[in-house]
Symmetry: C2
Subunit: 421 residues, 2 copies
């Protein structure tokens, strides 16, 4: 027990990470008899499903990022703290922060999410561009725009070929959505604004280790997606792995070399920013938790979302996506408030991925849908889950505008100075 | 003479810089019988008068930056090239670019604008934050938000005092407008979202070397501005110079030490990115030009805008602001097209500065105005000159929204990854 503002002793809940899991947990504890400290080194909640639209010049960073303090305006029992937890002492119930401060807690919820996983391949890590946070999305936008600028002026034919070949590794939803958005960017912007370039020479190559694009979706939807991507000019190679990379391009597992200045890596994620002594020894390198998201061997430390190997339907490990993290966040909040002790039950609401204007795929239980219906479903769901009324209004206005104007205007090469310190 | 697309030999005009001067010059040459190459290391035209709104969390970077290629869509005789001119050979009429390429030209227009001027004060340069380009504006936004976050968690009372003291050096329009915007940010956001902080403890200190704020404006307007700033809680010290700075704060010319983690420097600008052999030996360190903007000693190199010491009304050196640069850009374009040989005549359209919601000052010739009238004039003029219909729509919607909601939502600490390669 700790005191908040020196008034009443209330249980202190430390939530580590303001992603989908952490944010839902904090929201569920809002106004309840607990004092919550929400810790994240980034001062915003990031709506990662739309990150590819920041990378492809459709949205501004601020339209997919809600300032945490704004989300919890008028919630006196929720405090945000810009910091990072580097170590936990489960017995003493204390957390050591990167700033050196030590915080006591009664319950701790680890929800630090995931980062791009290069699976230890050093050459890939050195040359790849990730698409998992805002810094990476802006880096990718900057990089792609720079490639077009360099291609427009170079006299070296083979250099131009590499600059105009964009390789995307991993055909899950992020890879597919980015490939489709990049193809639309090329089709809409390059012919009008790069008279030096021949848009037909631009290649977008999507590589997938599995036997089909969107391998987690039903085969029918994968086939539809492959056709839509082909229609947009995206080359697809399945059953293909990248073994190494250098400045000239990537080498595939069969020895093929692909000359490219751009390798976008969406082929995997891993838990990130785990404090000591948490280990990633669980399934898929995630933290082992029980069916109440309690970290193995502890009584007051929970782990939810991408960092934790929580169990869902029929004992399958929960997928590393937003819905299970959000459900787990609310579940753990109920546990902390002394709610029902029944084990977590995952409600699978299905999956969606968009391929381009008016084309998307979705599956909800046995039902699948494609085309305009899928696209509308995707649109409604994403707007619904986007945090903040203002962001929703702005994003829908942008989409409507671009739908009519066929434009991609957020396309400046942006450098942000670091804070002075 | 050079050939464009191998079709017809047309005079080749090299415009160096896509600021107000270079952009107007290129626009005036659009569709005319010349081939224009517009060179700028940044791929956007920046509307610098609204930069302080990016720094103060009102606008997104893309709302004050128009992609150059978008501005010149459908203009086949204007080509953009992302590069920088490092040297000119006036006799041979060639420019050497940073990339190593050499470009021939028939006429060259230097319009590289200006950067923050620290007047050689090394300690100030090391610790100050500028507000002259997008990188600096985002750095300032990141820095100020980080100060609030650190102040919210520190236990060190004197550190908090420094973190909550914001010092702005230079009370020209940029310094005044940023001070007002920061004061509004503090008033609107801090009480609602930083329960750890006492907004009344935040200090904004505006320092000016001259005897009054907005020294270029009429005394009546300076007095009005000083009252409005005081109403917003901005402390003002005139006849005050900064002599040195360190991490703990700034030292004033009378020995006073001001503990602050933030020194925003808007006290001066200097020409930037000048190619060899141009020198800044002219008045105010600008390039010497004749009354046709021809660089002294050359017959085909012009210099306009902040880099050039062009002459305006009654032989006074033109001010380093947008209107004379724009007028000079159009004038030089007419010269290049063989237009009238009469000397340049500056049409002074007046000056405007805004202090906050519904308060601004303006002067047009003998007329001065303040308050809501000034604010409306400021609003109309800025929207009129903002490049791009879409930017105008977005900015006016943002302003309307914030006017009603009293919010400052573009307030995330943003880090943009550098392009790979």
């Amino acid at each position: 027990m700790t005191t908040t503002d020196g008034i009443l002793p209330t249980p202190h809940v430390l939530i580590v990470g303001a992603g989908f899991g952490g944010l839902q947990c904090a929201k569920a504890l809002r106004g309840r008899p607990v004092a919550v400290t929400l810790i994240d080194p980034r001062d915003y909640h990031l709506f990662t499903p739309l990150l590819y639209q920041v990378a492809s010049c459709v949205l501004n960073p601020s339209e997919v990022a809600a300032p945490i303090r704004k989300v919890f305006r008028g919630a006196p029992n929720i405090r945000y703290r810009q910091d990072q937890v580097v170590a936990l002492d489960h017995a003493a119930r204390t957390a050591t922060l990167a700033s050196g401060a030590v915080v006591e807690y009664d319950a701790c919820v680890l929800a630090t999410g995931s980062a791009t996983n290069y699976y230890g391949n050093a050459t890939v890590e050195q040359h790849a561009l990730g698409l998992k946070d805002l810094t990476e999305a802006l880096q990718l936008r900057n990089h792609v725009l720079t490639c077009f600028e360099q291609a427009a002026t170079t006299d070296d034919e083979s250099a131009r070929e590499g600059l105009l070949t964009f390789c995307i590794v991993g055909a899950g939803p992020t890879g597919v959505e980015y490939a489709g958005a990049l193809a639309e960017f090329v089709r809409l912007v390059v012919p009008k604004e790069y008279p030096e370039l021949d848009a037909a020479r631009v290649r977008i190559v999507l590589l997938e280790g599995g036997s089909r694009v969107l391998p987690a979706f039903k085969p029918r939807l994968s086939a539809y997606t492959a056709r839509q991507l082909a229609r947009l000019g995206v080359e697809q190679r399945t059953d293909t792995l990248v073994t190494s990379a250098d400045a000239a391009g990537v080498v595939l597992h069969d020895g093929t070399e692909l000359a490219t200045a751009t390798m976008v890596w969406t082929a995997g994620v891993r838990p990130r920013d785990l404090p000591e002594p948490e280990s990633t020894s669980g399934p898929m390198s995630r933290i082992d938790v029980d069916d109440h998201f309690l970290v193995a061997g502890t009584t007051s430390t929970y782990a939810i979302g991408d960092v934790a190997a929580g169990l869902g339907h029929r004992g399958a490990v929960l997928p590393m996506v937003a819905p299970p993290a959000m459900q787990a966040g609310r579940f753990v909040a109920a546990q902390i408030l002394g709610g029902p002790g029944r084990p977590f039950r995952y409600r699978d609401k299905g999956m969606l991925a968009t391929i381009g204007r008016r084309a998307a795929v979705g599956q909800v239980g046995p039902i699948t849908f494609t085309g305009v219906i899928g696209w509308l479903a995707w649109l409604v769901v994403h707007l619904y889950y986007l945090i903040g009324f203002e962001n929703r209004v702005r994003v829908v206005m942008r989409w409507a505008w671009y739908y009519v104007r066929l434009d991609r205007p957020v396309r400046i090469i942006l450098r942000a100075g670091e804070p002075r310190g």
